[in-house]
Symmetry: D2
């Protein structure tokens, strides 16, 4: 009949009515909301150190530090997330920036609910002060500035100081949990001996009786010295088989809990001896890698990401990946991740890649996105 | 001078270069990434039961259930999040839908990593089956289908059955943790006695010796009967002062942990006696409310949201809110929230409203958004 | 040679010298200190209710309550432990007594580090007050008076009230942890509504929002009503197979932790339907049983202990045991044990008896020890 | 009247009847069972190293090791506990012995539920093997052999090796939890690299990714090297005020839990600089001290116990005590205690001594008990 209305028209009419009332039909969206495998907007990406370094030094020339420019940091902007308007996102949960502090400068004191870690890339003589205690930073060290602790950075050395900052910006944004407060003073008052937490826990597994009542948060240990990290990896490589997926690798832990050094941001250092080619696997957690030493590549979902000293790259959620040390010396990869959060929320999964003896066929080689000039 | 370049031009040139290399200057974005108070896109909203109900019944006429339409659910689409392309979001972390199951129907078995709760609105004779056990559902009951457990719904009664579904869709999406699997059978095999978990833990704080080794997950208790919830609130109102912000209120808990019944989705029932007007406060966690009984209003950031039986409304993060029972009988508000997640991650904060004796001046009255017809 | 000294003499001389210096040779004592299986001095024993009851009523005639006689209790003295000078020990860790309170009496307020539970045997109208709250007691109820909480008992009813007391006297003594304090008042001031904790948690698994910050200790639930305990066991017996060793049985738990209602004294109720004969097993933990209802026997290390309503008996550590309901109605056995302590300290083990299809040959029948009259 | 019976006679008659029925009147024993302050049989005692050493060397001459003499150990027998028939008790819960292993010897492999620690006094070249891994021992090291792990000792060096053993013999005996098993082989097979656990966790707070799933028990770290312990105490003494009661002191902890290295036996090392005189306090937990270095004295309940290098002494429960370094060099006291058990069971208390500015008047000087020769 000419007047008949098709079923499709009926449904479309119904859907429009729902939409007008701010409602929706689950049956057309279920596959979108509840996906078979993780859905996300994160693409892998790699930044060359040369590029970052160049821009960073330029920022040192251009920008003085002060209350209106508290931190001189060039951050990694994942282009796939920029398209979604997610400024400052390296992954869905993590932010990473590279910070430059010049001799004599102070990066003013503040606190925020975002957790932060620092990984030292170049220089010495600068410190991070946390809740009244200065910790001096050296290359390869990991420094914690736990959520909502007062922290500032100062530089008493002679050469520019460069480090990586890692924060859970995306996580906290998604949960609407951001709070920030500037300290009344530019540099907070120092009330405790320098490097106290580090020295107090430097020997390993001892707890001062004066800290018997201390809970795990904030961590009583604020710095992990590269010498110790490297030594531990050295021993590991003497003692046991490499982990099939990560080589010789350790998580930095809180001495009072045995859990992640920062309770929300996982931190891992891995050593790949020359020639090591790990097996591929994937997991829900995402990571930002920094190449501390070495030359090699990582295959992510079939695409080859070639890296050398200083580079940064992003591993998206649930992405196949494997690492190769293509150089003649040990490679060291430092990374931050959101594994602790996924584990607390019981959302972590892991899967080994089983085809082709555990290694992915290479289907492409990463080259940086080139922005069209206007 | 004609040749001189302004500082602004220099910076802009620099920013463009950064952008081309997928980098960004933190100093211009810090205030955006690390906000003084929670930043989010969630606006409060309220849906009238009459509207939902009308559309839901219509869906019953239009849509048969089956593998391609596993659930007949009309979901709440927060318009402020729709603008951001976030389909099916009531808040940044939570989804809520209203489900209709007709006599004789089966909503097919599946499982997903999203946690889900059900709150029964109308009808009886239908069941939820979880991991081989059927739980029959009655008005006012809370039913759990824990993350990654097989579940289906069937209806052996005579009248349409309506319930609220609550899932942590936004949370899981933000963490890229979604996994989904359909069960090979439409209805999973029933291998355990009906209502077993409910009866086993109905008496309260007893653990069968056969469950001595059981950990808290998944919860050994899958249904919380309205009769018990109501009774507990009755006793509370006899025993103690009302909570200034929530009236007489309880969280549903897991008997083996004392924590939230679902480990990620908080569930709360509150009773407001006639005339009760609570104090205003705000907290980071967000909530979706359902009016089980009563007439009144909630003031959210100065705006009045008038509710009556069956309505749903959304409380955004860090929003001042207070509740008023304007009717002559007890009002009962059921709500789901993301408090357990914020507490696990140490991101919850709470603040009482201190001006005007704790109550907000009313600056507007909510009316639904009207979509422009085209 | 005539002068030669035997090796034995040399060693004995050496041992004497050690002894003079308060030292000892491990090699002669290792098997004593570190035994292959648990070493202890606990023998099983059974007390008939008729005997206890007779003496208890007599104490009611003889002894007025007061500050010098705070409790009118006849306690179970295990004769095997009396031989070791362990006054008031039913087992190595547990004490059990039977208390009589007459109408109008007050058992004065005090507190001690020993944990205590009460199990109500006869009567009503009496209450236990804990930290300002009265809980009225009825037959079959379990009442907690957690370690170091103020408690007193009062009787507002008309008939004598009788209950079992269970304390971890031996445990606390062995650890030198006993502290005791009398309350300045005979009866502590009542500052909270009667039966508050019981009513607040009566409905089961709900936590008032006003108690969100509460930790598990002391338990927010002070009484477990017999009606609920019995109902839970009824449901269990409908829902599942009996536990092979314990029949239908539940542990009383703390709603905020899922752990033992009292954190150190385990409390269990078991139901044995007519004809049930459980399998034998043994475990490190020790127990004191009270027969709430029924007639039957328990075989302990081959010896038959015949019990009927009201009787008490002791299960030593690491002793084979099995229970038989020889009557025509359900039997209910209440028991206290030190399982929570052994589990916390990782010292619990359990072993099923595997010979003879899991039941012990009976090698003797218990008859009470008769003290020689002098 | 001649026939009248006194009240005392009536009660005595009643008490006799109770006794005949293995019952007792609580009102006459309550003060004994539930004491105002800890009741125990432990007296303080001190053993001179010279005496121990002499006897120990003699045992080396007399006793060959073998399956019938598995350990060549001279143990501390507290005379106050010997009077109670408690063989091998240093305190109510703790045993301490001094072990001698000669070059080439093997102390055969076994396991037991008692926890054990070793503190190395003299020598090197010997190892402890635990669950397939050898740990070489040097002076000042703490070695763990966790409960129920296979362990044996072997000596590949050239000089006699002497160490302290600490076990929770009394605790386990009181709880009837002793199990023991000899290993089928004299020395268990070595299946892991030497010193693996120590090297793996030597760097401090790192967890190999291969041990991400590891729980805290058994500890992944089996040896605490003196060099690190000493270094930590050195840093502490530079960084902070001494603890008023313990000087500069640390507890050895498990890197995966932050709790006591052995979950039941607390282990502490304290450094007292020359002239240090601590404040007195008391606590429920008991301890056995070993003087690693230095000369001084400890005042226990007013009695002076003078110690020098190598000596051992016992601190009873709830006893006032303060330490004095009377020498010109740092003194180091190692001690084992039952604090972890008391804390798990919520029975620990502590009290500072407040009179005389925190120091006890000295009322006596300890001299060893002299056994009457017969």
């Amino acid at each position: 009949m000419a007047n008949s209305v098709s079923e499709e028209e009926i449904f479309n009419q119904y859907y429009e009515e729902l939409e007008q009332d701010q409602l929706g039909p689950l049956w057309t969206k279920l596959r979108y909301m509840v996906t078979k495998e993780p859905a996300h907007d994160v693409e892998p990406y790699l930044w060359k150190w040369q590029t970052i370094h160049k821009h960073l030094l330029r920022s040192g020339e251009l920008l003085p530090l002060g209350r209106d420019s508290e931190r001189r940091v060039v951050y990694l902007q994942n282009p796939s997330l920029m398209k979604k308007g997610l400024i400052g996102y390296a992954t869905n949960t993590l932010y990473a920036g590279i910070q430059l502090l010049l001799p004599g400068e102070v990066a003013p004191a503040h606190r925020h609910t975002q957790s932060a870690i620092r990984f030292i890339i170049e220089g010495d003589g600068a410190f991070t002060a946390v809740d009244g205690e200065k910790t001096y930073m050296e290359q390869g060290d990991l420094i914690l500035t736990p959520s909502w602790t007062w922290h500032d950075h100062g530089h008493e050395g002679k050469e520019p100081m460069i480090w990586m900052d890692g924060l859970d910006v995306g996580l906290v944004r998604n949960l609407a949990g951001s709070f920030y407060e500037p300290h009344p003073d530019n540099a907070q008052p120092v009330t405790k001996p320098d490097n106290g937490s580090t020295l107090r826990y430097a020997g390993g597994s001892y707890r001062p009786v004066t800290e018997r009542k201390k809970r795990g948060y904030p961590s009583p240990l604020l710095a992990y010295k590269w010498e110790k990290t490297k030594g531990t990896l050295h021993h590991l490589s003497q003692l046991q088989e490499a982990d099939p997926f990560d080589g010789y690798a350790v998580d930095y832990i809180n001495p009072l809990t045995g859990g992640s050094a920062d309770p929300r941001i996982g931190t891992t250092m891995q050593k790949l001896p020359p020639g090591m080619h790990t097996q591929a696997h994937r997991h829900v957690h995402t990571a930002v890698y920094h190449v501390l030493e070495g030359t090699g590549y990582t295959v992510i979902n079939g695409q080859k990401f070639e890296w050398s000293k200083g580079d940064f790259f992003v591993l998206p959620p649930w992405s196949w990946h494997e690492h190769v040390n293509a150089g003649s010396r040990d490679a060291y990869l430092f990374s931050i991740n959101d594994r602790p959060v996924l584990e607390m929320l019981d959302l972590e999964k892991e899967q080994p890649y089983e085809e082709h003896n555990g290694n992915q066929p290479i289907t492409g080689i990463f080259t940086p996105v080139v922005q069209e000039s206007e």
